[in-house]
Each structure stands twice: as structure tokens, then as C-alpha cells.
């Protein structure tokens, strides 16, 4: 999956007519967009302009904040026109683990690289297996 730089995400927001928000954190800018039905979308953009992101993070931004599919995202950059919503092909949510489960696995010494390979059933099975080991 091709992932964008933060500059490209910023460019998407410009073509998709998002509004810059006065709120800023130390390294991010916030943007909002009000859809015709009144729904409010909110996103934040890193000021590390040339830095890119992992596929999982890109998927989360598309599905949870921008509410467009991947192809639509690149189409907006290509055509420099705003995206149609509801998205014709919304981005599926990225695979994720419940936070408590990821936290508990890390606490038990499982590395992020190992956690990355687990879906929820396998992560739960691994946690149960670790817990069933005799102490020491």
C-alpha cells in the first residue's frame, strides 16, 4: 500500500475544503470539515511535512477521520477536486487489537513486532498461554 507524506495529506485537505483550526499542538495542526448533513470531521496533520506513515496509520486516518477510501484519496490529489461523501468505497477499518490486550501483551514482554503479526483471537490465545506458564 502506498502511503502519503504529511504534505500530501495536507494537500488532500486543501482540495477537499477542510478548515484550519486555531487549535495547535507542539507538532500538529488541526483541521475540521462540516459535511452537508451537519456531520463534523476532525483530523490533525504532522508538521513533519516529508515524513510518511505506516499503512495501518494511513488506513486509520482514511476510515476514522477523512471518511474516504484509499483510491478516492489519491483521486482527490490527482484531480484537485473535493471527495464525494458518503464515500463510494469507504476504507475498511484497519485490523486492531483492544488496547487492554496490546498493553497486557507488552507488559508480559511480547515485542511490538510480534504483536503486529497477531489478530485478536491469536493475541488472546498467546496471552492465555503466557499466563498459564508456571511462575519463574
Amino acid at each position: 500500500m502506498r502511503t502519503p507524506t504529511w504534505d500530501e495529506v495536507r494537500e488532500f485537505l486543501q482540495h477537499d475544503r477542510w478548515t484550519s483550526d486555531r487549535r495547535r499542538s507542539t507538532d500538529h495542526d488541526y483541521f475540521t470539515k462540516t459535511l452537508p448533513d451537519g456531520e463534523i470531521l476532525i483530523t490533525k496533520i504532522s508538521r513533519s511535512t516529508q515524513k510518511t506513515m505506516s499503512p495501518g496509520r494511513f488506513k486509520a486516518i482514511l476510515s476514522d477521520q477523512l471518511r474516504v477510501g484509499e483510491a478516492q484519496f489519491w483521486e482527490v490529489l490527482r484531480t484537485k477536486t473535493s471527495a464525494a461523501r458518503p464515500a463510494p468505497a469507504p476504507e475498511p477499518e484497519p485490523a486492531s487489537l483492544p488496547l487492554w490486550l496490546a498493553h497486557e501483551l507488552e507488559r508480559c514482554g511480547v515485542t511490538p513486532t510480534e504483536i503486529e503479526k497477531l489478530d485478536e483471537p491469536r493475541a488472546k490465545a498467546l496471552l492465555a498461554e503466557i499466563r498459564s506458564r508456571p511462575p519463574g
Binding site: P94, I130, R131, G136
Partner: protein, 154 residues
Amino acid sequence: MHEPLVPTIDFSPAKAQLSDVMDEVFHQHRPRLVSRHRGKERMLLVRPEDLLAMLGDHQLKVGAVYDGGEVTLRIPEMGLLGFGETLDEAIDDLLGELRVYAERYFDEPARYMGTSRAHHAATLLRFALAQEAEQRSMLGLDDVAPEPEVGSAR
């Protein structure tokens, strides 16, 4: 209009006796309704700690995405994301996002109450009034089924 079940005081006497009213709300834990224009406009005074207890538990459903050396935390229901290279960094970032969202929400409540974000109000108020440790606990970090105690090292 029904007789209010919460002690009610008209605006003018409330204004004149604000210190006593606050004593009742704070020290005696008595919520008070302040009313004006014959009850057409009312507001509720309540001690924040009491309100926290009244709001009860609001556990946020947080998902963790691990890939490419990054951790992304999601609260899909609110459209909030926390970014980090480690889980701890992402947790801190998500807590920051919740604080910004709560500030934004209560700065312009009418804007959000008329949308599908209306039902975030109670959770955000709970979060906004909570201490930092309680805010973290709302992420469900300790939401683990009881298990027999085992060694923590792999």
C-alpha cells in the same frame, strides 16, 4: 410544568445568596436548580465530584494498530487517533487528543450537540472532570479479566 424534584431557587435570590447556595451544593452535596422567567430557563448547580459519581463509568473502546514500527490508537466512535512509535507514546498522544476534543466540544457545544457527536457529551464531561489517572483508566488499560498470578517475564 411538574414540580421540580431537585431543590430549586429563583435566579434573584440565588444571586443574592450565592455564597449560601454554593455552601449547600459543595458542602452538603445538594444539587440546586436555578430558575428564571417562571421556570422557562433553568440551570443545574452541582459539585463536580458529585457529577463524576453520577455520570458513572464511561469506558472508551480503544483499538491498537501495530505496523511499520508505529503504534496508532483509535477511538473510532469519536474519530480520534493517537500516534506514537511506542504504545506509551501513542497513549499519551491519544490522551492529548481527548483533551483537545473535550475543550473543542465544550467551547462550542451547540455545534456538536446537533450531530451524531451529541452522545459523546457525557463521556467527554466525565473525562474533562476526571483527574489524570482516571482519564488514563477510561482508556481501559486495566480492563483485564482476572487471571491466576503468573510471572511477568517471557
